[in-house]
Symmetry: C2
Subunit: 502 residues, 2 copies
């Protein structure tokens, strides 16, 4: 039978196998599933989700966790073994509170919602999607009740960011708003300083996709251990250390969509491929949190991918693919263009400065839905009002408003958006630590040498998987707790330079 | 809780969900899985296979089967309910004899063998694949022992063709050999009567694939409820009634590879899409047997797809895509070319007349392996000797010999090949019945009207899924047991006409 720890690993391995099957089917649903397959797919995902849940919360796993706790108590808390028992226990105590019926209902509801969201967005018909959002709110509340919370359901759903609370987020967002809104105003006064016209034109899709795949492979994403496909909304999903999948989308009219979408997802993918294979088939084989995951995607997308040295390196290759379209711009023009700040409608296309305001809006709407201050049918109105208030723009339709994100079709999983802002903040804090250790970073990026950065991230962040909480990881890596001032300083310096504000 | 039958359906539904997940992952493995993912995939398939097996043979299912047997005893044996209980009981009694460890080992071994087979075939290195074939023989024998047999392990593995035995197959093949060998000889004497040169040339892949997809959609395959991808070896795999997937392969140098590969798989796919949705998520949602499945693919591929009226209809469209390549041939020339008979090396490219001899060879080699008369390392020699004896051709390498089929990488599943010959025989017997009911069939095919044929097959064959054994189905549909003389008469008439033998 092996030791208790071996038995625990084997039991957790089976849970992981069922979850991996779930992920392959979820990926398939977004990429290749024929229209007729959606209905049946939901049932299968529901069964897999329930079975994985039931096995994870089984008495056998509970007993093995208790038995191994003593076995690992003398080990370094940072060891794989001690971390496995500690983190698994935390997860399992939470999941034992969630009835398996609810897990199945969430999977079924998500699977039913996805195609409706797609159609509703295409038709810009919020009413069509509303029942699925209502069901999502209901299931999220039931999940929050099951997990337990003091006063705010959002707190329970935030378990994906261990240590973070709704009121802490409110403080963070208030601070960000205070620095972003004046910055956006100052930039608006110099809007003409940056011309992004060169990004629009006629850019055939195939060379765009070829370019971005070349870029992300150089950044460190392995196509031997992963793939890249097309989907409505780009995403990363990791099956196992040898199979980490990305999707992207491409616009013939806008050259940046595929480039930054692909780099963003590659940041997630590089993280997934960098987790120690020793953690595979355990609950530790994943990012430390969605926020930490997002810190990697945003670091690659924005802090590296929208940096001046990055485009000094890559612009020549891009222009060689589109010599006529990019005839009149140089690397510096392109760098400035991809950093144009302009309040806009779509989160995933938002510039770095205004992006966090898109998250704030969703954070507020979700809390209002969960706490009964807002009805589902009034979401578009609330959305549009907040867009006007925070960004000064009003969606002409719901496709460009409340229907733009796939996230609300993930039933029972509200509270996911703040991770994006947490990721932004962490990415700047991490970059400061990286610059300490790699003072030649800019020169390396300009020379197309992405290995030192990759090695740093693998060593300090990626390999650990879920062994540490976001707060523990940040403290280990940067010596500090989360500090939003790094991101504010980064944004003020970068955009102050681009827009000549200082 | 619902009735016992409802509970049985729910339990079988969960088994079916796990099996469906298995099939999606198996499809993914052959189409899109990155190289790094193969190792991990095997583990997941093993867990899914074992869990589905354990659930199916559980005491709960056994108890529910016993409880429902009384409930359905007064129903028509052909009803969905009575068939469900009868067929499930037969399956379950067999599967209860197979240890779940063996099921897991088969999945792991198959997953490990698939990439090695691919590489070994590419390198034509039989020794590289030999350990996986040896493991397959070992697991097939263990499976046969578990299922039980009187004297021939092949009998136990033949459970996929209920009612068929190894010695019956020996009689059938002896009879076929007796009619085929003289026919091949007569044809060889008039080899020049058919020129297949027009099939070889430079045919860009994309229009070929577009053409075959147009054809199979017209035959009745729905792309709303299925897909078509590319893989090393074409196959069909059905997930559920709304998601039936095909793969194909394409040769730029040979225009027939994709066309007949696609039509063949579409025959399987049309069958899968035609099974009554009421049978979904039960053991009845599948073809009656592999042989019956093959009767559908071979009927569409050969009896329809290589018929004169078929090419009278389609040749114009094909020539419009390749006007230069096909400039010098007409529909009749093309019809004759696609029916050229010539002993050759590759089963899936073999003509209708010699095809069954390829199966005979595999049937004999597998029996020799299972009964200890042949060692794995001696398979290539045995293969090549039989090729010379039956077909008069000798493979120049193992890629074109013993390594050509993916089947031997399906560990524990030897005995699969005879289904192809049984399918050939049944297809001719079915066609005779179809012609009785649809005397205008040739005219309809020539007019591109495939609906009457599709309707007949849906009504008589497809919708029933696994409710009836192959023998029961054949008796219901044709009024007779399996009779090889239909195929012999078909082949002698068709090729007698083409080669002017009579």
């Amino acid at each position: 039978m092996g030791s208790n720890l071996d038995q625990l690993r084997e039991a957790l391995g089976e849970v992981s196998d069922l979850q991996e099957a779930f992920r392959v089917l979820a990926w398939d649903q977004e990429t290749f599933l024929p229209a007729g397959g959606f209905e049946g797919r939901g049932v299968v995902l529901s069964t897999l989700g329930r079975r994985a849940h039931d096995l994870f919360v089984s008495d056998r796993v509970t007993r093995l966790l208790e038995a191994t706790e003593g076995e690992v108590s003398s080990l370094d808390p940072g060891s794989d073994e001690a971390s496995l028992v500690r983190v698994t226990r935390r997860d399992q105590e939470r999941d034992r509170r969630i009835p398996s019926e609810l897990v199945g209902e969430m999977a079924t509801a998500s699977s039913a919602a996805a195609p409706v969201w797609r159609e509703a967005r295409a038709k810009s018909d919020f009413a069509m999607f509303a029942p699925h959002l209502a069901r999502n709110v209901e299931l999220s509340l039931r999940r929050a009740e099951a997990i337990g919370y003091e006063s705010r359901p959002f707190d329970a759903l935030l378990y994906t960011e261990p240590g973070m609370t709704t009121s802490q987020l409110e403080v963070i967002f208030a601070g960000l708003k205070e620095s972003i809104v004046p910055l956006v105003k100052k930039i608006a006064g110099k809007a003409d300083a940056v011309d992004a016209g060169c990004l629009h034109g006629d850019f055939p899709e195939a060379p765009q996709l070829g370019f971005v795949n070349t870029v992300i492979e150089r950044l460190g994403f392995s196509f031997e251990q992963g793939r890249m496909d097309i989907s409505a909304h780009p995403f990363m999903i990791g099956m196992n250390p040898g199979d980490v999948r990305l999707t992207n989308r491409v616009s013939r009219g806008l050259v940046t969509m595929a480039i930054f979408g692909g780099i963003h997802e590659s940041g997630h993918g590089i993280y997934g491929q960098g987790i120690s294979p020793a953690l595979a088939r355990t609950p530790l084989w994943d990012g430390a949190s969605n926020g930490v995951h997002e810190s990697q995607s945003r670091l690659y997308e924005n802090l590296i991918g929208r940096s001046r040295p990055f485009w000094k390196h890559w612009f020549g290759e891009l222009r060689a693919l589109f010599p006529e379209q990019l005839a009149k711009v140089d690397a510096e023009d392109f760098y400035r263009a991809v950093n144009r700040v302009e309040p806009s409608l779509i989160r995933v296309e938002a510039d770095e400065v205004t992006y966090n305001l898109h998250i704030l809006l969703r954070f507020e709407i979700e809390n209002d839905l969960l706490e009964g201050r807002l009805k589902v049918e009034d979401v578009p109105e609330a959305w549009n009002a907040k867009m006007v208030e925070y960004l000064g723009v009003k969606p002409p339709n719901d496709a460009e408003g409340a229907l733009q994100d796939i996230h609300w079709s993930f039933a029972g999983e509200l509270a996911g958006f703040p991770a994006y802002s947490l990721g932004n903040l962490m990415s700047a804090q991490l970059l400061a630590a990286i610059r300490n250790d790699l003072p030649e970073l800019d020169g390396q990026v300009e020379a197309g040498e992405f290995g030192p950065l990759l090695g740093w991230l693998h060593e300090r962040v990626h390999q650990h998987g879920r062994k540490f909480t976001p707060a523990e990881l940040l403290l280990r890596v940067t010596g500090q707790e989360l500090d939003a001032s790094y991101w504010v300083a980064y944004a003020e310096r970068k955009f102050g330079d681009i827009y000549g504000l200082n």
